[in-house]
């Protein structure tokens, strides 16, 4: 399978592109240069033409690209949540439909359900309450764009929601955003995200639009991953409980 990974220069995207490359042909796109990818292109997420060109010969899309900062020196076009973020998803899906692509995986965030975290056991059915902040509002709107495209067009879209992304491959990144994700139930290692992308790109989905929580496995977790385990066969390999114990 030929997979387009957008945002392949990023903290998560670089690992998704690397790991998917073990089983698939990967083309990475980003506004910044990408290391270690034989097929990579620098594109502007604001450009429909760039996105359409990048999908030449592609079977599935892992869409991680999102405007996360200013990217000094690598800033073609404008980069805002509602612009390159939400409009970027619209243009990406339009191009995917044009190209006859069957599967897109969109990277969302668990933060869009933030105000409901005072409840325990939020499933994927929880309706987002993103507030008016650009990132969470943009991701919520982009999920809605995905939902519409999957309803209207012959492609299926898996949305994955996660947060607290840590890595055991680089020292100093073992705990991501402890202010937002202070408890070890809401974390996930980068390589498990890559695993989830591989599954979400290839496994049959019960309906054309499905949302999955992707986290490490813990009993009594706040964001249960039962759905991803059952439908995608996701089994997280890394657990940050040990790190958490060490930090006590």
């Amino acid at each position: 399978m030929k997979v387009l990974v957008t945002g392949a220069a990023g903290y998560i995207g670089s690992i998704v592109a690397r790991d998917l490359g073990q089983q698939h042909q990967v083309r990475g796109v980003d506004m910044r240069p990408m290391d270690g990818l034989s097929d990579s292109r620098i594109i502007d997420m604001n450009s429909y033409e760039d996105l359409y060109e990048a999908m030449d010969g592609v079977d599935g899309v892992a869409h991680l690209a999102w405007p996360m900062g200013k990217y000094e020196g690598f800033a073609p076009g404008e980069n805002t949540d509602l612009g390159a973020g939400v409009r970027g998803v619209f243009q990406l899906l339009r191009a995917a439909v044009e190209r006859g692509i069957q599967r897109v995986v969109f990277q969302s965030t668990i933060n869009i359900t933030g105000p409901s975290w005072d409840n325990w056991r939020l499933t994927e059915e929880e309706l987002p309450r993103p507030g008016v902040g650009g990132y969470t509002l943009g991701k919520t709107l982009a999920e809605e764009v995905c939902r519409s495209f999957a309803r209207v067009h012959p492609l299926s879209i898996a949305v994955i929601r996660f947060g607290g992304v840590f890595t055991l491959e680089e020292s100093g990144r073992e705990s991501a955003a402890p202010d937002l994700h202070p408890i070890p139930s809401s974390c996930v290692e980068r390589r498990d995200i890559a695993q989830a992308y591989g599954l979400a790109l290839t496994r049959p989905l019960p309906s054309p639009f499905e949302v999955f929580h992707i986290f490490h496995q813990r009993p009594g977790e706040r964001f249960p991953i039962d759905k991803a385990r059952k439908i995608l066969g996701f089994e997280p390999r890394y657990n940050c409980e040990e790190l958490w114990r060490r930090g006590q």
Binding site: N46, S47, Y48, E49, T80, L82, G83, V86, R87, F90, Q91, L93, R94, V97, R129, P130, G131, V132, G134, L137, T140, L141, E144, V145, S148, F149, R151, V152, H153
Partner: protein
């Protein structure tokens, strides 16, 4: 009442502005403004909308981008999405910061396109927009309104209108569409929306559907007719409806 209007030079804005000006102090604005009585405001420029929102009680938000044939499809889609998404966000944020009492967000019933014609939809139905930039932009801008409505009770009233037609100038042979809404009724509903103190339902967000009140309409008007709004559209297009023509 001091009322600012965005998109005041558009189809509905041109009809609404003089009617409102007879009742209130209005500050019409448009992207193609700069003439007497029409301030030039680009909703994509935060300073522009901050200036517009300063010292007004209500903002009526009509601004949206029209399709321009001289631009490419992708360029048009960019303008349409950006104007509704970033433009609406800018406007709501500026209105909240300036202490504006109400933003009336004029929306479009077209986002129920995904329902079978036999289904009667109400405000409780989830919109099923198609994947054109237009319908997506309308639907997503409503969700922006919903999030701002959570922050300040009464701030956002989203009024979804049917297909606007001016009954006065409508050819007798025009084929009736149950989504029609006479522009006079649309203007009257907006005038009424200015006065509303409370919204119906369990939410802070005022959300109302309005089309012509005709038999077998695909849109339930129960909420706007019977609730706080208490609004009854007058033009029911009797002369154009098939059952009256037989």
């Amino acid at each position: 009442m001091k009322i600012a209007i965005t998109g005041a030079a558009g189809f509905l804005g041109r009809i609404l502005t003089p009617k409102l000006a007879a009742l209130h102090e209005v500050f019409p604005s448009d992207l193609v403004g700069g003439t007497a009585g029409m301030e030039q405001v680009d909703v994509l420029e935060i300073e522009d909308v901050q200036r517009l929102c300063a010292d007004v009680e209500v903002v009526i938000h009509l601004a949206c981008a029209a399709w321009r044939d001289e631009l490419s499809g992708a360029e048009n889609e960019t303008r349409i999405l950006d104007t509704r998404l970033k433009g609406t966000w800018n406007l709501m944020q500026a209105a909240m910061d300036a202490g504006v009492r109400r933003v009336i967000q004029v929306s479009d019933l077209c986002i129920f396109a995904g329902y079978d014609a036999s289904v009667m939809v109400s405000e409780d139905f989830i919109p099923l927009p198609d994947t054109t930039a237009y319908q997506q932009s309308v639907y997503l801008s409503e969700l922006i309104g919903r999030e701002f409505a959570r922050l300040k009770k009464g701030l956002v009233l989203t009024l979804r209108l049917g297909k606007l037609v001016a009954a006065g100038g409508l050819p007798a042979a025009a084929e009736f569409d149950p989504a029609w809404l006479d522009t006079t009724d649309a203007v009257e509903a907006i005038v009424r929306a200015l006065e509303l103190d409370e919204f119906d339902g369990l939410v802070n967000w005022g959300l109302y559907n309005l089309a012509a009140d005709v038999p077998a309409s695909p849109y339930s008007l129960l909420k706007i007719k019977s609730g706080q709004f208490g609004f009854h559209p007058r033009q029911n297009f009797d002369a154009w409806r098939k059952e009256n023509r037989a």
